[in-house]
């Protein structure tokens, strides 16, 4: 079962690299969506006996991360009719290298971390670290609001991965609350992206530099 889990995490990491490398927004959004779905499925693999709460949370995750948010983003993308990221402040190749290097580093670093035996084998920790890193690279390196949102999502996915370490410890109520917050957060971000698109009729955050010293 751990193997399936690692498979999924490996997929997530691969999607990270794809997200880093792709210049087209649709593929970026798709990558994020698939990653979200993969993450949503993980609780099923971790929990021995599935109770309805876990199922609910997991399904919600899949639904939100896999469908709702991507749809939201696609709409914003279409209304702003932008297809691709222009002039990223960190180029694709550099960001790819960064991501790849980061992933390797994460895997290496995770070995040094004090981990419980049952986690030592899994890719959970390196995967989460790699995703967080990827998220930051996207947040810092992209100038289109949508790509930044995707970065933020990947960042959160990474944290979610880490949270799975505690899935037995933390009560589901907390998990649910956290998930709810994240979802609302992304919703709000989506709304703001939409508003910005209307206010500036563009999603190029390089235009958003009116407020400065």
């Amino acid at each position: 079962m751990n193997a399936y889990l690692n498979l999924l995490i490996g997929l997530a990491i691969g999607l990270n690299l794809l997200a880093l490398g792709s210049s087209r927004l649709p593929s970026l959004i798709n990558a994020v969506a698939v990653q979200g779905m993969a993450l949503g499925a993980m609780p099923f693999l971790l929990e021995e006996h599935i109770n309805w709460m876990v199922a609910l949370v997991a399904c919600a995750t899949v639904a939100v991360k896999g469908f709702v948010i991507p749809i939201l983003l696609r709409r914003a993308m279409r209304t702003a009719n932008i297809e691709r990221e222009v002039v990223p402040s960190i180029g694709y190749v550099p960001s790819l290298l960064l991501g790849a290097g980061g992933t390797i580093a994460a895997v290496a670093f995770a070995r040094t971390l004090p981990l419980l035996p049952e986690h030592a084998g899994s890719l959970l920790v390196p995967g989460s670290l790699a995703s967080v890193l990827t998220g930051f690279v996207l947040l810092i390196g992209r100038s289109k609001a949508i790509s930044q949102v995707c970065g933020y999502l990947i960042l959160e996915n990474g944290i979610y991965l880490f949270g799975l370490l505690l899935i037995h410890a933390t009560p589901l109520l907390v998990e649910a609350g956290i998930l709810l917050d994240l979802t609302v957060g992304v919703f709000v971000i989506g709304i703001i992206v939409d508003r910005i698109q209307r206010a500036f009729d563009s999603l190029d955050t390089r235009k958003l530099t009116v407020l400065r010293e």
Partner: protein
């Protein structure tokens, strides 16, 4: 009536004035005067040998039980506050009247009484926290008084400089009192001389209080503030508030152990302050700036005396109680000079205020010949000039004489202290001569000769409201001058409150003689002057134009100006004065015009602090550039912060 009720009455009077001040100026004046008189009486009781008044109450202000105490030392300063405060309020009633300044006059009355109240509170509070509160309040009150005319740019600048500089001092006092409280475990003040570990705190106090006192080179705020403030405010600031810095230093040195280097530092600082202060004063062409710098000089003289006292106390014996006799003389001189300078400096500022009121300018080179229009102001200013130059038979000489005597005794005692006293005495002599030059210049340029401008020609004598206080303060000067021996016990009691065992109430015999000489000199001078006047009047007095070596049409503009008068002695101090000249020479056979402008900058401020401030502003600009509005970088900053904290933790011995 014991001091307690009197002080209560004084506080009540001032508060009532505070309330009444917004609407009714006369009521304000009445209340304030009543309060001032009550405070004066209370102070007098203590100085005349009353027992220290103390009031402890469980009633807690700011979490600290109230502890008020008035001893002779506090009373000495309280008396000054009362006299100058009272005189100042009468003066203000005429000088800053509702008619002339409808918006700012009520505000002025409000802050004036706040200032007086907080000054009193500083002198009364024996709890560090309350002291600090009162101290800050008086700083702010003074700031709002300086900036009464806040629509004028230079006034705003001066006020801000004062506020900013004072805050540096305040921060030092924060540190001082906080460290004191942290080490002693309580905010209570009082003698704690056995705690040798407290000695280093003296340096904090020196900066904090010295800045308020206008000690060189911390005087940067003083000239512009005192020059741009309304004259009654300048008077109380120059006469009283800077003395509170001295008060703070005295208390610190009396309560805490002082480092071995402190007395020497004080004497050296005092000598430098006196000399450079008067050098700057001599070079000024703005009468109020001149007076302000002169205050710096006098603070220097007081510091010399104070340092001498500390030195004597230090080498007198291990316990501060028995100091060498000359230390008492120096201290007495310093304390008496606190009074004297407070009196004649406020007299001079009142005079300058009347001139400003009458002519609308502070530039001495635009004045002249005012004695005809304003004889009262002229004669009183002349009196003040003689007094502040430390000349007999007036009071300035008495205090300087005491300081001198202390220093001379130190020299003749051939103790190590002599090495500080020798240069100090010589510097004091030079300072005196420069002060003489300064005030011959100031008095004569303003009041003598021919009016240089129309403004000076159409001047008018000031109103009785402004004349009265000047006469009163002048009378006080005269009293101290002619009966110095009577002042001695008061001063001695204050000294005793500072150092138990320093209160020898019998004046030195020579002081009686000196007093006699002063009286005789005054009488003879009057007699001789009168006699010569009669003699001259006896025959026909022919009035005609100044001969001026036979020049036919002398004009007022040919008279000596401020710069030309100060040229020689000022030249010797060019290294520090750094005067800026703009000279347009006459050219050609038929030259159109020529001009020569000279300005003496506040060197420390413009040559020393200015560049530093510029660097700081550069840094500020660089940092502000980081707030450029690009979100990507903002997130990068978060990562940087994270990394920074991480490294800090790792270096901190983590993991």
């Amino acid at each position: 009536m014991t001091p307690g009720p009197l002080l209560l009455f004084a506080a009540a009077g001032l508060t009532a004035g505070l309330v009444a001040g917004r609407r009714h100026a006369p009521a304000w004046l009445g209340f304030t005067l009543a309060g001032a008189v009550a405070a004066l009486v209370a102070a007098a009781q203590l100085l005349l040998g009353g027992a220290p008044w103390e009031w402890r109450s469980e009633f807690a202000v700011a979490g600290q039980p109230l502890h008020l105490r008035l001893d002779a030392l506090g009373a000495l300063f309280l008396a000054l506050v009362a006299v100058v405060g009272g005189a100042g309020s009468v003066y203000a009633h005429g000088y800053w009247s509702d008619r002339d300044y409808p918006q700012s006059a009520p505000r002025g009355r409000l802050w004036w009484n706040t200032l007086l109240l907080s000054l009193g509170a500083v002198l009364l509070s024996w709890n560090g926290l309350h002291f600090l509160i009162a101290w800050e309040l008086f700083t702010v009150a003074a700031f709002f008084l300086i900036t009464l005319e806040n629509q004028r740019r230079d006034v705003r600048a001066a006020g801000w400089l004062y506020l900013a500089a004072s805050h540096l001092g305040t921060m030092c006092l924060f540190a001082f009192f906080a460290a004191l409280a942290a080490r002693t475990g309580s905010w209570e003040l009082g003698p704690m001389r056995e705690r040798a570990d407290l000695a280093p705190l003296f340096w904090l106090a020196l900066v904090g209080f010295g800045l308020k006192a206008g000690m060189f080179p911390l005087h940067i705020w003083l000239p512009s503030a005192h020059a741009n403030a309304p004259s009654h405010v300048s008077a109380i600031m120059s006469g009283v508030t800077i003395k509170l810095g001295i008060y703070g230093l005295l208390r610190t040195a009396g309560w805490l152990p002082v480092p071995a280097a402190a007395p020497w530092t004080l004497i050296v600082l005092g000598a430098v302050t006196a000399l450079l202060g008067i050098a700057f004063a001599l070079a000024q062409s703005d009468v109020k700036r001149l007076l302000a710098y002169c205050s710096v000089e006098n603070i220097g003289i007081i510091l010399i005396g104070l340092g001498g006292a500390l030195l004597a106390a230090a080498d007198g014996s291990t316990s501060l109680t028995a100091g060498a006799a000359w230390g008492r003389l120096a201290l007495a001189g310093a304390l008496l000079h606190v009074w004297n300078h407070g009196l004649f400096k406020s007299l001079l500022f009142f005079g300058a205020g009347s001139v400003l009121h009458a002519t609308g300018t502070r530039e001495m080179s635009r004045l002249g010949g005012l004695w005809r229009a304003m004889p009262w102001t002229a004669s009183l200013f002349a009196l003040g000039a003689v007094a502040i130059s430390g000349l007999p038979p007036l009071n300035g000489f008495v205090s300087e004489w005491l300081v001198y005597l202390g220093l001379f005794d130190a020299v003749t005692s051939r103790s190590p202290a002599a090495w500080a006293a020798l240069p100090a005495a010589i510097m004091l002599g030079v300072t005196g001569a420069l002060a003489l030059a300064t005030f011959v210049k100031a008095g004569s340029l303003i009041f003598l000769g021919a009016p240089r401008t129309a403004a000076a020609r159409d001047a008018h004598e000031c109103s009785p409201w402004m004349r009265g206080p000047m006469v009163a303060v002048a009378a006080a000067c005269g009293a101290i001058a002619l009966a110095p021996a009577l002042c001695w016990p008061l001063i001695a009691r204050a000294a005793g409150a500072w150092q138990p065992g320093w209160a020898d109430l019998t004046p030195p015999a020579s002081l009686f003689t000196l007093g006699g000489m002063q009286v005789a000199l005054a009488l003879l001078a009057f007699a001789a002057g009168f006699a010569l006047w009669r003699r001259a009047r006896a025959d026909d007095v022919t009035r005609q134009l100044t001969w001026d070596c036979g020049y036919v049409v002398p004009t007022a503009r040919m008279q000596y100006t401020s710069d030309s008068f100060a040229g020689i002695a000022g030249g010797w101090f060019a290294w520090i004065l750094q005067p800026q000249r703009r000279l347009r020479r006459p050219r050609g056979l038929f030259p159109e015009g020529a001009s020569r402008m000279e300005r003496v900058p506040e060197t420390v401020l413009e040559r020393l602090i200015g560049p530093v401030a510029a660097v700081v502003m550069q840094a500020s600009l660089a940092v502000r550039r980081l707030q450029h509005g690009r979100l990507q970088y903002y997130i990068a900053y978060v990562v940087v912060g994270l990394a920074g904290l991480g490294t800090l933790v790792v270096l901190g011995g983590g993991s």
